[in-house]
């Protein structure tokens, strides 16, 4: 075994947190730069993992860079067991990238700076941990660890209703987690010898009786669906997104929501094939409802950030639709593409909304107009990402939605997929309407004459997201090759 790369992804941010905690409180710049530089390390490691994995392991569905299993709590046979495959590798890189980007975007935090950056690094550790854990208990621990810094980040640095949003997020997610805990316990006592190794549990789960499979599957589904969030479990999302500070919204949309869909693909989908088969229609239906519902609600929003938040509900709906089309590798691949592309695009949109909010101190769509003339660079970038979000060909959103629809069309009810496609049209409608009302039209010189253009640091934060969006949009093959073997294996497992 070589250098424990995966452990370092988790523990470097934790060490960073400890370092930041011991920095002098009033040296804001030192704290900001230290934590950003620390987060660069796991980011580079995660990039290197993508590179290395692509050339060495991408053709194989087996776990790579495995660490452990080392016995952690022997009495309960709980292990410290890490490993990655084609579905966790790109999400790790996304987490690494968005963490650094968000830390850079947090430089305008000007009170309780030390706590903010310490919590942020803890959050990063938790996210990385979820994507590398292969022991279900460990997975659960990371899943929960992340809630605490998130609670603080929303609650201290958030908007006017931050206390409400923070506790709602915390309670809602914990409510989901208790279902996961029950499923963990059932799986643990069903497996023989008792184990919580996710890979071994695949055999345990699929050998269970149908009714027990259903119970476990539904319990896990509730836990993951709350995180995604799948309609009707989405009500925490608008509150949390709107109240959270910009960088936290980016992480919420870019990484946290993905943990729900990742959990499904990693844990429950391949574990309970029978239950999955009988429920796949309903899962896809929830996805279809989310697509249309999210898009319609987005259209009615007056607040820019809320619009982006509800568009997330719609976009994650595509993922759920794809996850319902279990027989199609194409749809599942599309789901992975959508997860990554949504992370990039929505992350960028939240960053850009934050940029405007910092200057204008309002996010009300109706308050703006004609900004395009005053802030050409900012508007250009914003329009770029709006186009990406509505699925313009040549950008990542198009690829993922296209793959999902092609896959789902063959695997699912044609009517349902047909209706879901309307979501694309609606998506175009709310995005274009927003672009038109904010960037075009008459410019209010008196009110917005003092607006300043997007600065260099802010361009640096969205730049990489822009490049990746374009790259995946134009040349998706490398990403596809990265995940192909793993996803094929997953689909085989689901078809057992």
């Amino acid at each position: 075994m070589g250098f424990p790369l995966l452990s370092s992804l988790v523990f470097i941010p934790i060490i960073g947190m400890l370092v930041v905690m011991f920095l002098p409180k009033e040296r804001h710049q030192v704290i900001k730069w230290t934590s950003t530089l620390i987060s660069v390390v796991p980011m580079l490691i995660s990039f290197w993992l993508v590179w290395d994995y692509f050339f060495k392991y991408a053709g194989d569905a087996a776990m790579a860079y495995v660490e452990g299993p080392v016995s952690w709590i022997p009495i309960l046979n709980i292990q410290y067991y890490l490993g990655v495959d084609g579905i966790s590798i790109p999400l790790l890189a996304l987490t690494g990238l968005l963490s650094t980007v968000s830390l850079l975007a947090s430089f305008n935090i000007n009170f309780r700076v030390k706590e903010y950056f310490a919590f942020f690094l803890l959050l990063e550790a938790g996210m990385m941990g979820v994507f590398v854990a292969l022991d279900f208990f460990l997975f659960y621990v990371f899943w929960e660890v992340m809630l605490v810094p998130m609670y603080f980040l929303i609650g201290i640095w958030g908007g006017p209703r931050r206390e409400y949003a923070a506790i709602k997020f915390f309670l809602y997610t914990l409510f989901g987690s208790i279902f996961m805990l029950v499923a963990i316990l059932i799986l643990y006592f069903t497996s023989e010898p008792h184990s919580l190794n996710i890979l071994e549990l695949r055999a345990t789960g699929s050998a269970m009786s149908y009714s027990l499979q259903m119970v476990c599957f539904i319990f896990l589904f509730i836990a993951f669906a709350i995180k995604v969030p799948v309609w009707p479990f989405h009500t925490w999302l608008p509150d949390a997104h709107v109240e959270a500070p910009t960088a936290v919204s980016v992480i919420l949309a870019g990484v946290l929501l993905k943990m729900g869909t990742y959990g499904m693909l990693r844990v429950s989908w391949p574990m309970f094939p029978e239950a999955l088969r009988s429920l796949s229609f309903w899962i896809a239906l929830l996805g279809a409802i989310a697509i249309i519902y999210g898009a319609l609600v987005s259209m009615a929003q007056k607040d820019l950030k809320k619009l982006v938040a509800y568009s997330s509900v719609s976009h994650m709906g595509y993922c759920m639709l794809a996850l319902g089309a279990i027989s199609s590798v194409q749809a599942i691949t599309g789901c992975m593409f959508q997860m990554i592309s949504h992370g990039l695009i929505t992350g960028a949109l939240f960053l850009l909304v934050g940029v405007l909010y910092d200057r204008a101190h309002t996010r009300e769509i109706a308050a703006f107009g004609g900004i395009g003339a005053k802030l050409p660079i900012y508007s250009g970038i914003m329009v770029f990402f709006s186009m990406a979000a509505l699925g313009l060909p040549g950008m990542s959103g198009f690829i993922s939605e296209f793959m999902i629809f092609i896959g789902a069309f063959s695997a699912l009810s044609k009517v349902m997929v047909g209706i879901s496609v309307l979501g694309v049209v609606l998506g175009a409608a709310y995005m274009l309407r927003m672009v038109q009302r904010v960037f075009l039209g008459e410019f209010d010189q008196k009110r917005w004459g003092g607006l300043t253009e997007i600065n260099f640091r802010e361009i640096v934060t969205v730049g990489p997201l822009m490049l990746l969006t374009l790259w995946i949009g134009i040349y998706p093959k490398p990403l596809n090759d990265l995940m192909a073997a793993t996803l094929e294996n997953l689909v085989d497992l689901m078809a057992r």
Partner: protein, 503 residues
């Protein structure tokens, strides 16, 4: 029959004897120096506890006084908890002594030590009478301690209330024990098991009524000590009125003692009913209902509390509900999980109470809202409190989570192996659901400390003994959350030593 003197083996009792003598030393030292010793007497008490702990380790396993006094893994484990709780309670009492009880330091610390001795005897005794005496030695000093602020109406009320309730419940317990004696003809728990099994009692006629009464009386007697609903009403008032470290000691030490009594009398002593007439299930479901009530009532009512001591009182009622899930699992995992739970609970709860006690000493307030903005003015205090709250709420990777997981695991295991125990699923379900409620009020404390934009008027720096207690709490909560192995391993010896697994 020839009467044989039992082997006394006094050496096995050395820790108790030493601590008893030391308690006398502490009291007389304070008197002898004309009450001018300052906090020296407190440090003396702490030293005594440490020395007792060392003696305890070297004493090892064994038995004395025939079958009356056992030093088995159960006793050893719980004695560690009692010593630890006592240590932390005394450690957080130093601020108190300066302000309010200047002239009675010796008695105050001495009484805590006496109560600790009682708990230690209780956990070692395997005989109904000595067990009862241990329980009394535990609670009688606590009556006095609860009323220690003589000029404070609330404290006096707490003392009287606790005295009345405590005496009443002891009477009930004693009545129940007398029935047990009548049925089995012995007070030795091991012998009692055998005798009860041989006599093949049935739920018929007078014997049936007596059986039911026995169980009811025992349950009520111990239920009061555990503050298990509907026997919980005294707890919030007593916690609120007593000196805060005493409330802390009540919530951990005295509760652990009640659990030991429950395990010894109910789980162990009555388990033999398994074969002929009664399964533990018959009264297990009854206790299960009480445990469910504890979790629901404790967690829901705690949400409404403004006073942090009352909140912690209700939280401790709820925590007993969780512990009872493990107890009612009636399997090896269950008994070890109970021990592990109370062990980790000690760190989190004593730590939280230490913060509350320190805050109260400095500011005179126990209202949750006066903690507002504490994170900025006193970061360490607030951070420690936040960690304790999260551990009590059961958020990983803190020890409180692992304890809950362990307890639930035990219950699910039992429910899965024996269909008669399916009701445990419901209990686990209620436990999990109410733990979401619990998060609300624990997080509320964190919210008050961290999210407030206004500045706190208090800039508090922890003083040495309080800092020590808080650090012990923090280390325990983190260490046993991340590396629980040694304690879990130790705790896994307990069921066998309790001997309640017959087959």
């Amino acid at each position: 029959m020839e009467f044989q003197l039992p082997e006394y083996n006094l050496l096995k009792m050395l820790p108790e004897i030493f601590l008893f003598v030391w308690a006398l030393v502490v009291v007389t030292f304070d008197l002898g120096t004309k009450r001018k010793t300052g906090s020296t007497v407190g440090y003396l008490a702490l030293l005594g506890l440490v020395v007792t702990g060392v003696i305890l380790i070297f004493t090892g396993y064994g038995r004395g006084f025939g079958n009356m006094f056992f030093n088995d893994p159960l006793a050893l484990f719980f004695k560690m908890i009692f010593l630890g709780a006592s240590f932390m309670a005394i450690g957080s009492s130093f601020g108190l002594t300066h302000q309010k009880i200047v002239n009675h330091r010796g008695e105050y610390f001495g009484l805590i030590l006496f109560s600790t001795v009682g708990m230690m005897f209780l956990s070692s005794s395997n005989e109904l009478l000595s067990l009862y005496i241990g329980l009394e030695l535990t609670t009688i000093p606590l009556f006095v301690l609860a009323a220690f602020f003589k000029d404070d109406k609330l404290s006096v009320e707490a003392g009287v209330k606790y005295l009345v309730v405590g005496a009443f419940s002891s009477a009930l317990l004693l009545y129940g024990l007398s029935f047990l004696y009548g049925l089995s003809g012995t007070t030795d728990i091991l012998l009692m098991k055998v005798n009860l099994a041989v006599t093949q009692l049935k739920f018929e006629g007078n014997i049936g009524i007596i059986l039911i009464m026995t169980i009811m009386l025992l349950l009520a007697g111990i239920g009061f000590k555990l503050s298990l609903p509907p026997f919980h009403q005294w707890a919030p008032d007593v916690y609120e009125g007593s000196p805060t470290p005493v409330a802390a000691f009540l919530s951990v030490g005295s509760k652990a003692a009640g659990l030991v009594a429950f395990a010894k009398i109910m789980v162990n002593g009555l388990y033999v009913f398994y074969d002929p007439v009664m399964t533990p299930n018959d009264w297990g479901i009854l206790v299960g209902v009480l445990a469910a009530a504890a979790m629901i009532l404790g967690n829901v009512v705690a949400i409404r509390q403004n006073n942090i001591k009352r909140m912690l009182a209700y939280s401790s009622i709820a925590q007993v509900g969780y512990i009872m899930i493990g107890m009612l699992s009636f399997n090896e995992l269950g008994m070890s999980s109970v021990a592990f739970y109370i062990f980790t609970y000690m760190f989190a709860n004593m730590g939280a109470f230490a913060v509350v006690a320190f805050f109260e000493d400095k500011t005179g307030s126990c209202q949750i809202e006066s903690y507002s903005g504490l994170a900025k003015s006193s970061p360490l205090l607030a951070a420690a409190m936040a960690v304790f709250m999260l551990s009590l709420a059961g958020i990983p990777p803190l020890a409180g989570f692992l304890a809950k997981f362990y307890v639930f695991a035990a219950a699910i295991k039992m429910a899965g192996t024996d269909s008669a125990y399916h009701w445990l699923y419901w209990l686990v379900g209620i436990g999990l659901l109410t733990s979401v409620f619990a998060l609300y009020y624990y997080a509320n404390v964190i919210k008050t400390m961290y999210f407030s934009t206004s500045d706190s008027p208090y800039k508090l720096r922890l003083t040495a003994p309080a800092l020590m207690v808080v650090l012990i709490g923090l280390v325990g909560v983190f260490l046993f959350g991340l590396y629980p192995e040694p304690i879990m391993k130790f705790a896994s010896n307990i069921p066998a030593s309790l001997g309640f697994i017959i087959d």
